[in-house]
């Protein structure tokens, strides 16, 4: 899958210009006969896509759920009474109760926070590593590129799930903060390579542009050229890749928690809920189906959002 993502994501860079890269471009002037930019074209394309709006809505919904779970449920997810084991829906618990007598819906709602936190922070750190590595490799070329590209090759050659198992087994602590930090660290350390390749190739394209040569002739240093002239070009494709990566990081976190090496109780995570629900699915299936649906919809929303934006920016696919 990563090969496919890389191919598809790098395809659209060749034909892309930075939407706000060049200083002095009359972006805000809005003359009536001005030809539309690629970003404007993409936006027109996106606006007409129902998938874009549906996934955007889902993303906003999950974000709200993570920020203010009280908006969606007033029940306490930690309020578990065994006498309510697998009880029918009642009093705000619209999906009934699970094996431990906890409110299934409340637990699923409160699970959004951990998932989104891990996904967003992993994507953020992944993005930072990818930008630094991709920028250095793409801008300086030569031996820097050779060394960094080999590092990318090696990290890309490590299977994510296996490495995460090895790394996380070292974490003995059961403290919630430590485990969340560890999962974020592991996903960021193993997951930055695809984005770094995308950044590297867009930096290489941008480096050869006339305005970069012009900036250099005006006496701009490497740092300024990288920061002001090349970074804006590399940022947009990286953000698209990272949106998709955010979805897969959420899935990876849930998978690790499902296996029992990611987050642990009392942290509420969809992965743990799914695993618990799976064990008792013959008695009652809702504790399995509800968190599964939440997780699948969240991951799907991010992946579809990234996919839609990428398609809109890819003129080859029109």
């Amino acid at each position: 899958m990563s090969d496919f993502e890389t191919v598809a994501a790098s395809e659209n860079q060749a034909a892309r210009r930075g939407p706000s890269g060049e200083p002095g471009t009359p972006n805000q002037v809005g003359r009536p006969r001005k030809p539309r930019s690629l970003a404007g074209d993409a936006w027109r394309d996106l606006r007409r896509k129902p998938i874009f709006w549906i996934s955007l809505l889902l993303v906003l919904l999950v974000t709200a759920m993570a920020a203010v779970p009280g908006l969606f449920t007033s029940n306490d997810p930690a309020d578990c009474v065994l006498s309510r084991q697998h009880a029918a829906p009642s009093g705000g618990a619209i999906f009934g109760y699970d094996f431990q007598g906890c409110d299934t819906y409340a637990r699923a709602v409160h699970g959004a926070r951990a998932s989104l936190l891990v996904g967003a922070l992993s994507a953020l750190f992944t993005g930072l590593i990818a930008l630094v590595v991709g920028m250095l490799a793409g801008y300086f070329g030569g031996w820097v590129d050779a060394v960094l590209s080999r590092v990318i090759d090696i990290v890309l050659g490590i299977p994510l799930l296996l490495a995460a198992i090895v790394l996380l087994k070292r974490i003995g602590s059961d403290s919630a903060t430590v485990r969340v930090a560890a999962v974020i660290f592991v996903l960021a350390v193993l997951g930055w390579t695809t984005a770094a390749r995308v950044v590297r190739s867009s930096v290489i394209t941008a480096r050869e542009q006339d305005y970069v040569a012009a900036a250099r002739m005006l006496g701009a240093g490497n740092g300024r050229i990288m920061w002001r002239h090349i970074l804006p070009n590399a940022l947009a494709p990286a953000i698209v890749v990272l949106t998709i990566a955010l979805g897969s990081f959420i899935a990876a976190e849930a998978t690790l928690s499902f296996l029992g090496i990611g987050l642990r109780e009392p942290t509420i995570s969809w992965g743990i809920e799914i695993n618990n629900g799976r064990v008792h699915m013959r008695e009652s299936a809702t504790p399995l189906v509800v968190p599964s649906t939440f997780l699948a919809l969240t991951v799907l929303a991010f992946i579809m959002l990234g996919d839609a934006i990428r398609d809109a920016f890819d003129p080859k696919l029109r």
Partner: protein, 312 residues
């Protein structure tokens, strides 16, 4: 070509030492009691402690001791001696029993991906922007987006427990029918990616100059598609499927765990659950090697299949 293979081989050896060093360093070295770290939260008996100390030369200290033990681990790994799990079974025996099951499962998954993914991909690529194309795109997006930990238990619940179309779990020595549902679940991800890859590749090649030439010299459409377009379009698909063979063999942890299939992934799943450190390290080491080798084979296959690619 020869130089490329040699260079790629050297790169793989580098990656091999890199990854095994990481696996080793993380599992055994570092602060604290390495034996307790291996055993996790379970108590370690004196006999186990003595066995592990002797096996991994834990009495040697310092950086020299670390590399001594690392070298030991590598040479054991290369000789196929993986030691014993905490329950006392030889890990080599466990793996020998598990591999045939995992390979059968992977082949079923691969067959599902090839038969449905490539066929539908070719059709979607030819009829680009048709209803069929859009429907398959949406479906594959769904499949790509739904994590295995959702797909596997739900498939098991609905198809296995509720409607009883398939046996819900496989159990010891599973037959073809018992492996079919896990195979479909495992293969669905590869199916979706193979479909999208075939579609893009076919659609792109249909616009190529040589296709126009073939059309203008009067070849029937069937021949243009089946000979000229397919030949070029399937190169990326074949390499992708090659990578998938490696992934399917090592990546079936969740599927095998959920469906109770006694393969390699299931043993790893159980090893993690029961905090069996040596079992986890042994299986992960072997899987990493399988993964690296399959990647190597695919890279070489790629260069052989597509003469336009030259790595000199």
């Amino acid at each position: 070509m020869f130089r490329f293979i040699v260079r790629r081989l050297l790169q793989m050896i580098l990656a091999f030492f890199g990854t095994t060093l990481i696996v080793y360093a993380l599992m055994f070295a570092g602060q604290g009691d390495p034996i307790q770290a291996l055993a996790g939260e379970r108590p370690v008996t004196a006999a186990q402690r003595a066995y592990l100390t002797e096996k991994y030369h834990l009495d040697a200290t310092g950086v020299g001791g670390f590399f001594y033990r690392y070298f030991d681990y590598i040479s054991n790994l290369l000789r196929g001696d993986l030691g014993e799990s905490l329950t006392g079974r030889s890990i080599g025996d466990i793996l020998a029993a598990a591999w045939p099951v995992t390979i059968r499962l992977a082949l079923i998954a691969l067959a599902v991906a090839v038969i449905f993914g490539v066929t539908a991909g070719v059709l979607a690529g030819i009829r680009r922007a048709s209803i069929f194309d859009n429907a398959t795109l949406l479906l594959t997006l769904l499949v790509l987006g739904i994590p295995t930990i959702v797909l596997a238990p739900l498939a098991q619940y609905f198809l296995g427990v509720k409607w009883q179309v398939f046996p819900p779990t496989a159990g010891a020595d599973p037959d073809f029918y018992a492996l079919l549902l896990p195979g479909i679940v495992l293969g669905s991800l590869s199916l979706a990616t193979a479909l999208r890859l075939t579609r893009t590749s076919v659609a792109e090649n249909l616009r190529a100059d040589y296709v126009r030439t073939a059309r203008s010299k009067g070849l029937p459409n069937r021949r243009v598609v089946s000979v000229h377009v397919l030949r070029n379009s399937l190169i990326p698909v074949i390499t992708f499927l090659g990578v998938e063979v490696g992934n399917l063999m090592s990546g079936a942890i969740i599927t095998e765990g959920v469906f109770n299939i006694p393969g390699v992934g299931f043993n790893l799943f159980r090893g993690i659950r029961t905090e069996d450190g040596p079992l986890v390290v042994g299986i992960v080491s072997v899987l990493v090697v399988v993964y690296l080798i399959s990647n190597l084979v695919v890279d070489i296959l790629y260069a052989v299949l597509d003469p336009r690619i030259r790595y000199e």
